[in-house]
């Protein structure tokens, strides 16, 4: 039974995880789905762990994704992918930004940051597609485009057309003028392409 789609977006406070999930929810709603979005975000503002759940389908009951049932994991930060990959169903896929955000407890030498979180996820049996959203955004001229790159990255892994999502993303920037919209359109396409290429390379 797979009538509800479960998308898990993870990262840390301040990265724009919740906004990204909200835009995904808007796209699902635009297509006539019922949708619920919820967070586990303990004091997220201050660099803590954020995991945002989106469920959509004909009718959504529980807002929470049950561990082992997420269809897609969209990871804004590499180690956070490791933290949450148990949420994926066995055939699920993790789309991972390779960015490493090292918390103060690691800087203080109390814990280690894993050497290669993406490799660790793969070794543990998770299907992962990794890309460097931060560099893509910087190449496009603005680190703030990273979130749009992330949304582009998931665009071809949703049960609906990428155009709908793109429109919802661009809608957010309409007020800021055509130039900003264009920049975001390119960022979205770049995210899409990065995942496409990484997937081809892996195949």
């Amino acid at each position: 039974m797979h009538s509800t789609t479960n998308i898990l977006v993870v990262g840390i406070g301040g990265q724009g995880v919740m906004t990204a999930t909200e835009i995904l929810a808007e796209a699902a709603i635009a297509l006539g789905h019922d949708a619920k979005k919820t967070e586990v975000a303990g004091m997220a503002q201050r660099g803590g762990v954020v995991s945002s759940h989106l469920r959509f389908g004909k009718k959504v009951l529980s807002p929470q994704i049950t561990p082992g049932t997420a269809d897609v994991l969209l990871g804004f930060e590499a180690a956070e992918g490791m933290r949450w990959r148990h949420m994926l169903r066995p055939e699920g896929i993790a789309l991972m930004n390779t960015a490493r955000l090292v918390p103060p407890v690691v800087e203080l030498g109390l814990y280690d940051y894993p050497e290669d979180p993406i490799a660790a996820m793969k070794a543990a049996g998770t299907r992962v597609i990794a890309f460097d959203a931060t560099t893509i955004a910087l190449d496009l001229g603005d680190i703030r485009l990273g979130n749009t790159v992330m949304l582009g990255a998931i665009a071809d892994h949703l049960p609906f057309s990428a155009d709908v999502l793109q429109e919802c993303v661009l809608q957010r920037f309409r007020r800021k003028g055509e130039q900003v919209v264009d920049q975001n359109r390119r960022a979205f396409e770049a995210g899409r392409a990065a995942v496409g290429e990484a997937q081809m390379a892996a195949a």
Binding site: A25, D34, V40, G68, H86
Partner: protein, 620 residues
């Protein structure tokens, strides 16, 4: 926040439970809404303030907010008040007598229980207040219901002249879901009518009101049995029937779509007869409620054989991955094997203070002062208990740092006789409940040094305005508290009150060290704003000169998240002692140039960042 045009009636919107309640408050013609911020309730009032025709205010604490709402309801207008679960502990004194007077204008109190403690000091079940104060409790299960039940609550409140509790949980307040909204109806207030027998609660008056409260209980019980908010949904799998409410209802439906369910929307008073109806349909009844076994105990007391916390956890959310195995065990079935990969071990990522937070310097300094017991309080500065500072020893409830400090002083044992007692409290917390405690310390001649961290905002809950920063909820100018004068009025000697810039570490250190030696009450006020507010001004960023950095690690001890270790090493000192080295860099894109980290850097390795422009590179 400025009023905007509300979306037209019949719009279908993606709304959090908080936004949905705010919309319903506006549609219900509420005149006065008051609250003190607190996760997960905060956004209700913030949203209300964006609607026209409603007066909304940040009150100084929850008790005052409820009293403001009570006054408006006495005046015959509809009023609304919201708070996080612990807020009702503060407001309950008013509540417990309000139940005797009742109201004229509808009064709805939304209480948000932080089930699972995403951002709270405890987990409480606010449905208790319905029992304790004899008030009806409504429990929405999603945003649409939060919207609809708020409107019903106002009608009930006026029909029974009783305040109504809307019990929410984090998964209602913060979950976004679709809501179809309606139209606003205007309401003319009834006006205040003098009636001392009802509005002036003396023993003689109250004694006559108590029987009326019991009569109301009977009426409400009847209502609960008939209310369309309590829905019995039949089902084909009759092995277990469920009595449930709030988000738990959604979880039950998710897990057991074929089971009969009694969904309680009006859960207090409990509709016992409806519960019997469900019981008659099924082999066993399980009550699924977050957090306490309230309905369960009441049904057991009424002679119904139900299960509940006997098989379900007493703490946290009753999500599908909790419910399914518990019910499988009950039915003697194999526990459904969820194909869950084991979680991978990763470092923890506790919340941190922001880059350049004005509290950083305070905790860095406190971590350097010996022989202190630090009585803490609630706010961003509670994080001072964590790494790298470890400079906060207690934290209980808002404002408690004051009384606890005095108790630590008066109750000290022989072993602590040379300890200095210091209390740390934020501006909003001080105004909420702290100033009475300070008065108590002064009055009872305590020996406590108080650090009053005035960052001119309620930082923890998102930087709201408060009487300390001179702005109201709408960002309009408002009278501003002068903390130094306030402390002086409470009896602290003028020469024992100091205002310091928390970024000036030597001054801060010296002031703290001097004041803890004085055997009387001193107050040290820090005066720099929260970084996330408009009052904060970013300065030129700093960077580390790699060649100069000796790897001493001093700057890391400040705790600013913009500082990162680039490499580690070891050094053998002349004494033969081996020390760890940590060489650092500063993430210049987020450094705000506060200048804290350079102060403990002996070799002056931290300097203003010089961006290298591509043009210069070419020229070079």
């Amino acid at each position: 926040m400025a009023a905007v045009m509300p979306a037209p009636a019949a719009s279908r919107l993606l709304m959090s439970g908080n936004e949905a309640v705010a919309r319903a408050v506006w549609e219900s013609g509420v005149k006065v809404a008051a609250a003190y911020p607190g996760t997960p309730a905060t956004e209700m009032l913030e949203e209300i303030s964006t609607y026209p025709d409603v007066y909304a205010e940040w009150s100084v604490n929850e008790k005052v907010s409820l009293e403001v709402a009570i006054g408006a309801a006495f005046a015959g207008s509809r009023s609304f008040c919201c708070m996080k679960h612990v807020g009702m502990n503060v407001a309950s004194d008013a509540l417990m007598t309000l139940t005797l007077t009742g109201v004229i204008g509808g009064l709805v109190i939304a209480i948000a229980d932080d089930v699972g403690l995403s951002s709270s000091q405890n987990e409480q079940d606010s449905r208790f207040w319905g029992r304790f104060a004899h008030l009806p409790v409504l429990e929405p299960a999603d945003s649409q219901e939060a919207y609809a039940m708020t409107k019903v609550a106002f009608d009930l409140s006026e029909r029974f002249q009783v305040p109504v509790i809307l019990r929410m949980t984090t998964r209602i307040n913060h979950v976004k879901a679709l809501v179809t909204v309606g139209a606003r109806s205007e309401r003319a207030g009834a006006g205040f009518k003098k009636d001392p027998g009802r509005w002036v609660m003396t023993p003689a008056g109250a004694v006559k009101r108590i029987p009326l409260m019991f009569e109301r209980d009977v009426e409400l019980r009847k209502l609960a049995e008939e209310s369309p908010l309590n829905v019995l949904e039949n089902g084909s799998d009759r092995r277990v029937g469920y009595i449930t409410s709030g988000t738990a209802y959604m979880h039950v439906k998710e897990c057991f779509p074929e089971a009969p369910v009694l969904k309680l929307g009006l859960s207090c008073p409990v509709p016992v007869e409806r519960c019997r109806e469900l019981a008659a349909l099924v082999d066993q009844v399980v009550v699924v409620e977050e957090v306490e076994p309230l309905v369960e105990m009441e049904l057991k007391a009424a002679g119904l054989a139900v299960l509940g916390k006997d098989i379900l956890p007493r703490q946290g959310e009753l999500a599908p991955h909790v419910l399914k195995p518990a019910i499988a065990r009950l039915l003697g079935e194999p526990v459904p094997e969820m194909k869950v990969a084991p979680p991978m071990p990763v470092f923890p990522r506790p919340p941190t203070m922001c880059v350049a937070c004005p509290h950083l310097g305070v905790y860095y300094t406190l971590s350097q002062v010996k022989n202190l017991t630090i009585s803490g309080d609630i706010g961003c500065y509670t994080l001072g208990a964590g790494h790298p500072w470890n400079a906060l020893d207690t934290c209980i409830s808002m404002g408690a740092s004051m009384g606890i400090a005095l108790g630590l002083d008066k109750g000290r044992g022989e072993a602590d006789k040379d300890k200095r007692i210091l209390a740390v409290i934020g501006d909003s917390t001080f105004l909420h409940m702290g100033m009475q405690g300070l008065l108590d310390i002064v009055y009872n001649k305590g020996n406590v040094t108080i650090l009053l961290l005035d960052n001119r905002a309620v930082g923890m809950t998102g930087g709201q305005n408060n009487p300390g920063n001179g702005y109201d909820l709408y960002d309009n100018a408002a009278p501003k508290v002068d903390f130094a004068k306030l402390c002086e009025s409470l009896g602290v000697k003028k020469e024992r009150i100091h205002t310091v810039d928390p970024y000036q570490l030597p001054v801060l250190f010296k002031t703290i060290r001097d004041e803890i030696k004085v055997p009387e009450v001193s107050v040290i006020i820090t005066d720099q704003p929260c970084v996330l507010t408009k009052a904060y001004h970013k300065q030129r960023a700093y960077a580390v000169i790699d060649d100069k950095c000796t790897g001493c690690g001093n700057c890391i001890e400040v705790g600013c998240p913009a500082i990162h270790v680039t490499r580690r090493g070891k050094e053998v000192k002349a004494s033969g002692r081996e020390v760890d080295l940590a060489f650092v860099r500063i993430e210049t894109s987020v450094c705000t140039g506060c200048g804290l980290c350079l102060q403990p850097c002996a070799p002056d390795a931290i300097v203003h960042y010089e961006p290298v422009s591509p043009i210069r590179l070419v020229k070079n």
